[in-house]
Amino acid sequence: MIKKILIANRGEIASRIVRTCRKMGIASVAVYSEADKDAPYVSKADEAFLLGGSRVNESYLNATKIFEIAKLANCDAVHPGYGFLSEDANFARKCAKEDLIFIGPHPDVIEKMGNKVAARKLMELTGLPVVPGLSRPLIDSKEAAWEAGKIGYPVMLKAAAGGGGIGMQVANDEVELLKIYEGNQKRALMFFGNGEMFIEKLIENPRHIEIQVLADTFGHSVYLWERECSIQRRHQKVFEEAPSPFLDNETREAMGDAAVKAIETIGYYNAGTLEFLVDVDKNFYFLEMNTRLQVEHPVTEEITGLDLVEQQIRIASGEQLAFKQEEIHRDGHSIEVRIYAEDPVTFFPSPGEITELKVPQEDYIRHELAVHNRSVVSHFYDPMIAKLIVKGSSRLQAIQRLVEALDLYKVEGIKTNLPLLRQIAAHEKYQQGETTTDFIETYIKKNGTTT
């Protein structure tokens, strides 16, 4: 078993990983930037080391410095969390060279899944359904228009290296496609250093539903049901829940079986998530695979009773999965909301100093906090300051508990999206399970009022 883990991350996920390390009797080492020196996770870990300046290149992306600290502190493994170096195949490869266990899948698989068009092609070959479209990069905008004509409008133009919605845009006709092509390609090149573009048919009113998988290095794989993460702003998730209010058991099992077959075909191990779009007729289409722990993993933990970080550590330590598919339970309903330091209407970031933080305490409420009651929320990092997770025996009960918890949740000093979260949670369409990806645009008016 792994003895000492360096956590190459920050914020709530670093605290979360420390918690599981402590439970398992594993020593934890935190690393932090200058901006994070007073962050809660730094004091929670057994040891903590300064990485460098506040910019991510000087700190959380500085692999050389991370390896130096891992050596100095005698760590035998690295947990990358999510974001930062978690999906950097070269970082995973370097870990092996430095005699460190990378808690995640094989670097080659990370690399393949990192390019959306390559991942699409690979998954298509394993038999997973993909959105009708192109499984290779486009040559230019003319070819895009030619292919889009065959697929049928509206189409979604996407960057192969894209993420966070960058380089992605809907085109309703040829004129629009030609108009947006170069701008998106330029953005993709600027942000990801890769201007490869491809197109897919636009799925109307889709749900975003993902399957959590676990696989050990002995060829055993299971799925831990689904999470529905349809409610998004700027293509980033805001509400996540398990189980999905939309899926029936037949679709759920079909998606799980297809996901397991796909990861077995590509030789995947450790935790991973296959993201799907599900249309109104419950057809599902592979979108992308995240080769790491996800932000929203707690809702899966709440309904299965499993600790996903513990499972990741056990798999990375060379243990076999201790359970089979038919032994995985599903109990109750769990919802997670992401609390962002941002304007609830424009979604513009709102860094600053927190002057008061009060969170409700109940045995059915779980908090993952990146901040304390006097934290300075830096503009250098992601705006997510906390996650609020509730559990209920039914979806209705979970929603009622969420509404109450949000009412009692208090963050002062900075703007947060709490007003938006409260509006969504209390909205009858949310309660009815009308959780399509355009929920916020459709039901929440621009001025912040509810429709």
Partner: protein, 70 residues
């Protein structure tokens, strides 16, 4: 005359134009970066860039005047 005003606190990621350059209404002039989000600021009127008050990498607050168009 019109001003380019920071719509959020963050750092100046890219200055797309230079002083004296003519710009048209709606053109991206400055891109701000904060919390992993990039916000382009557009010219609200056509004209020429009279003055740029900031450099790439500077930290700005919401409401700061970053450039002037004449």
């Amino acid at each position: 005359m019109s001003e380019i005003i920071a719509s959020m606190a963050g750092s100046v990621w890219k200055i797309v134009v230079s002083e004296g350059e003519s710009v048209s209404s709606g053109q991206e002039v400055i891109i701000l970066e904060s919390m992993k989000m990039e916000i382009p600021l557009e010219a609200v009127t056509s004209g020429s860039i009279k003055k740029i008050h900031i450099s790439e990498g500077d930290f700005v607050n919401e409401g700061d005047v970053l450039a002037i168009i004449e």
